[in-house]
């Protein structure tokens, strides 16, 4: 829309309309399954936002979505489609586990930065290999990152079956990180301020995720490197003319993007489960693509989209718990529809909305003239 004052159509109205459409589709499916619609919606809402516990879980899941959304968005700004989030998060978790287990017993103040650095290094370097292949050998970033997802999950299974396996456990999990080494939960943190909240897995990595969002904003729009990143993403020829090296930007961007996604491991392992298992990523790496799409690759948008996704995830599990006939699949249904309408079909309603807008503004101006 080139008309004046039409910008908010794309930024606000369109995403909202997309979500409404997704919910409408959900309602149709739930209705077909014979589930009471208003009940279901109330359950999802109550589950996600109705109680302190629900809100805690929602934000806990949102943390994962923020990290993966930021990572995907950063790569997107350089014109790269990083769909290797699963693999990068896996390696991030591995990095956290190794740091926490080998440094067990040192002060948390020291461990915290070290485990974060280890996490970022593992996941960043995992993303570096496809980045190098793309920058210097011309291999396609989508193909190589998706292959690296498979390699990462095999690697994790291999390590959990051998080197990292806890000796006294039947299942493939690592040793448990001692509670002294775990990330402080929000409950503990707020207790320092004499605020009492329900115990949830929500931990300080949520704050870190918010800091990362602010950082990404400043990085992309207020630094030299971010400027170069955006120029590469828009027009490689212009970038080449201005003397910006694509190789350098691809390497740096993928390192940072991988590191951001890798922090899912920090939240999941040092924050909640305290031990490495083979399914902790649980699709969060992939959902980052949908979150970034819905958040328009903008940090603020990503936070909003993440909270929505977190709410759906948490509310959906609540619903799944109560409606045994549908079970866990309800979460994937809702998520899938939201991804479909907000991601794949994100421009579907654009012509319609613009048409309505222009008819509306026309009749308006005519009224004024009359």
């Amino acid at each position: 829309m080139n008309n004046k004052s039409g910008w908010w159509l794309n930024v606000i109205v369109l995403p909202v309309a997309n979500i409404c459409l997704a919910f409408l589709a959900c309602v149709v499916v739930l209705f077909a399954l014979g589930i009471n619609i208003s009940d279901a919606i109330m359950q999802i809402y109550q589950g996600a936002f109705g109680s302190q516990e629900g809100r805690g879980y929602t934000l806990y899941y949102a943390t994962n979505f923020i990290f993966s959304g930021l990572g995907v968005a950063l790569a997107w700004h350089a014109g790269l489609f990083n769909i290797g989030g699963e693999g990068q998060a896996t390696l991030g978790g591995l990095g956290v586990t190794i740091a926490c287990l080998s440094l067990d017993g040192i002060s948390l103040w020291l461990l915290l930065p070290l485990s974060m650095i280890s996490c970022a290094l593992f996941s960043g370097l995992w993303a570096l290999i496809p980045a190098w292949l793309n920058a210097y050998r011309g291999s396609h970033i989508v193909i190589s990152t998706i292959m690296f997802n498979l390699i990462a999950s095999s690697l994790l299974v291999y390590l959990l079956a051998g080197v990292l396996k806890a000796p006294d456990q039947m299942s493939a999990v690592s040793n448990t990180i001692s509670t002294d080494s775990a990330l402080p939960t929000m409950k503990q943190l707020l207790a320092l301020l004499d605020i009492n909240i329900a115990a949830t897995p929500l931990n300080i990595s949520f704050i870190f995720a918010l800091i990362a969002s602010v950082w990404l904003y400043f990085y992309l729009w207020h630094t030299r490197l971010g400027f170069e990143t955006r120029v590469i993403g828009f027009n490689e020829k212009s970038a080449n003319f201005a003397g910006i090296s694509r190789q350098r930007i691809v390497i740096i961007t993928m390192l940072l993007s991988g590191a951001l996604i890798g922090f899912i491991g920090l939240n999941e392992i040092q924050g909640n489960s305290h031990q490495l298992n083979d399914e902790f990523v649980a699709g969060f790496g992939f959902s980052g693509i949908a979150v970034a799409l819905m958040g328009r690759n903008n940090p603020l948008g990503i936070i909003v989209a993440s909270i929505l996704f977190g709410g759906l995830y948490q509310g959906g599990s609540e619903l799944a718990f109560n409606e045994e006939s549908v079970g866990n699949n309800i979460i994937f249904l809702i998520q899938g529809l939201v991804v479909l309408f907000c991601g794949a079909l994100q421009w579907m309603l654009k012509p319609t909305l613009e048409h309505w807008y222009s008819t509306f503004s026309h009749s308006n101006s005519k009224n004024k003239a009359a």
Partner: protein
């Protein structure tokens, strides 16, 4: 009276908050040549894009042969018999002319191709309009002006009754313009209407039946060129008469220094895998450039002069020889890149038609930093947006870039204003050596004049300028020295004041005859 072949009525178009077209009405009579002139940003390109369905209108009506139509896509425009010659068309390089023309033609069946009838039809068109190329020639073998002719043939084959020519620069070059005039008069006799937008007033004045003058999104006059002189026409367009400034009036300067010296420079490309042709793309270039001097590099396309500019600006390496810039010596092994070039006060601006001098999606104030963002302290320092916006606004005012809106997307500015902004950026860092490619491609006369003035000012301050141009008028009025290239070699250097335009064009044509 016949209804017009194409009628645009009360067209209104906005770019964001800028009103690009304000109630524009224009009638194209059948079988006429209709010229549209105006300064950069007057809305000419926008109007043509609307007629061809590339842009949607915000208000207004379009009539074809008196019937109201909706043209929302180029496909619909083609269906209504409107064809357009683009500034940059993309081609399948490795396929023949006929393949490229048939491609995407709706008369073709889904499976298989109906080559025979298409070939028959095309050959007939070629005979009729005097196109001399064989339909089986590969596109890659054609030069830019021949490609534009193929583009015209394609439009005719699709049944164009109205042909829109947006800046057919290559066809307007001095060696081709006689051909174009012939072709257009043939087209006219067949009842095809032609709409032509160009900055070369002289040719339009000679060619057109009607000329519409646009200014700031409005048609301000419609004249018959037979009743008006060239000078009056440019006065209508700009509001004053234009005489391109000449470089020859100048004092001799004693304190000249040697700015750039190129010795035995060669580029040898090696075929892949070590075999194939070992072509010399530049061979033994020896060239010295002084301060206070403007040098024109002239040659037929792909003669190596464009390559030399790319080497000097740091965009491309070389394989043998030496470059000495401000007494610093560079061999192929330690050749500078673009960033170092900027640090050494070497600035460059690409051919405006390539559109790579700025980033169309970024706001203008960010485009105005491009290439010089390296100079902004460190990697992690914060961009001070307000400072850059203010600087950009100053630059815009100084160079008369319109509209003066630093936060508007760069792509929304017209081609000429984009070029002014690029030059403003490059000149604002006081370069010692400025490298330009086709500095006035797509730039109107008024803007060209102000660009020339600033280039002369740079020369006065001691800068050296090197430029490539296919426009011999530009070479004659801008340069102090002409360096002639042929097949990657320098075949002659002349002082511009010792040459006439005719001599220069003869030298270029002789060169072509030798090939």
């Amino acid at each position: 009276m016949l209804s017009p072949a194409l009628q645009l009525k009360n067209i209104v178009k906005y770019y964001q908050q800028v009103r690009a077209l304000d109630n524009v009405s224009i009638d194209i009579a059948p079988g006429s040549i209709h010229g549209i002139i105006g300064e950069n940003g007057a809305g000419k390109s926008t109007l043509l894009k609307i007629a061809y369905g590339l842009l949607a209108i915000d208000d207004g009506e379009i009539f074809v042969d008196g019937v109201k139509v909706n043209i929302d896509t180029p496909q619909q425009a083609v269906k209504h018999g409107i064809g357009m010659l683009h500034q940059s068309t993309s081609w399948l390089e490795k396929r023949s002319i006929i393949d490229n023309i048939i491609l995407g033609d709706s008369n073709q069946s889904w499976v298989g191709r109906n080559d025979v009838s298409a070939r028959f039809e095309l050959e007939q068109l070629c005979r009729e309009f005097g196109f001399s190329f064989s339909l089986d020639t590969l596109i890659s073998a054609l030069d830019y002006s021949q490609r534009q002719l193929v583009d015209i043939l394609r439009s005719l084959y699709r049944g164009a009754k109205v042909l829109i020519l947006d800046e057919p620069t290559a066809l307007l070059s001095s060696s081709q313009s006689s051909h174009l005039i012939e072709l257009l008069s043939l087209l006219k006799m067949q009842g095809v209407s032609i709409v032509i937008v160009a900055h070369k007033l002289a040719i339009l004045h000679q060619l057109c039946d009607v000329i519409s003058v646009m200014s700031q999104g409005m048609v301000i006059a419609q004249v018959n060129p037979r009743n008006i002189t060239m000078g009056a026409l440019s006065k209508l367009m700009i509001g004053r008469e234009i005489t391109l400034p000449h470089s020859r009036v100048k004092k001799s300067i004693d304190h000249r220094v040697e700015r750039l010296k190129v010795t035995n420079l060669s580029i040898k490309t090696r075929g892949r895998f070590g075999f194939g042709r070992d072509a010399l793309r530049l061979f033994d270039i020896d060239l010295t450039v002084q301060s206070h001097e403007i040098t024109a590099l002239v040659g037929l396309p792909n003669s190596g002069h464009e390559l030399l500019l790319e080497v000097l600006s740091g965009h491309r390496g070389f394989t043998a020889g030496r470059i000495t810039m401000n007494k610093k010596r560079f061999k192929p092994s330690n050749h500078y890149g673009v960033k170092q070039a900027h640090k050494m006060a070497i600035a460059s601006a690409p051919d405006p038609l390539l559109g790579i001098g700025l980033v169309k999606e970024l706001p203008m104030y960010e485009s105005a930093l491009l290439g010089y963002h390296q100079h902004l302290s460190s990697d992690i320092s914060f961009f001070k947006d307000s400072l850059y916006i203010r600087r950009c606004r100053d630059m815009m005012k100084l160079w008369d870039v319109r509209p003066v809106l630093p936060e508007l997307r760069s792509g929304y500015f017209s081609g000429g204003n984009q070029q002014k902004m690029i030059l403003a950026r490059e000149l604002s860092h006081n370069p010692d050596l400025l490298l330009l490619s086709q500095p006035s491609h797509g730039v109107d006369v008024g803007a060209t004049e102000s660009i020339y003035k600033r280039l002369f000012k740079l020369r006065e301050q001691g800068g050296s300028i090197m430029f490539c141009s296919t426009d011999l008028d530009e070479v004659m009025s801008l340069s102090d020295r002409v360096v002639l290239f042929e097949q990657g070699q320098i075949i002659g250097q002349y002082k511009t004041q010792d040459l006439t335009k005719n001599e220069l064009s003869l030298m270029l044509i002789n060169e072509a005859a030798c090939e």
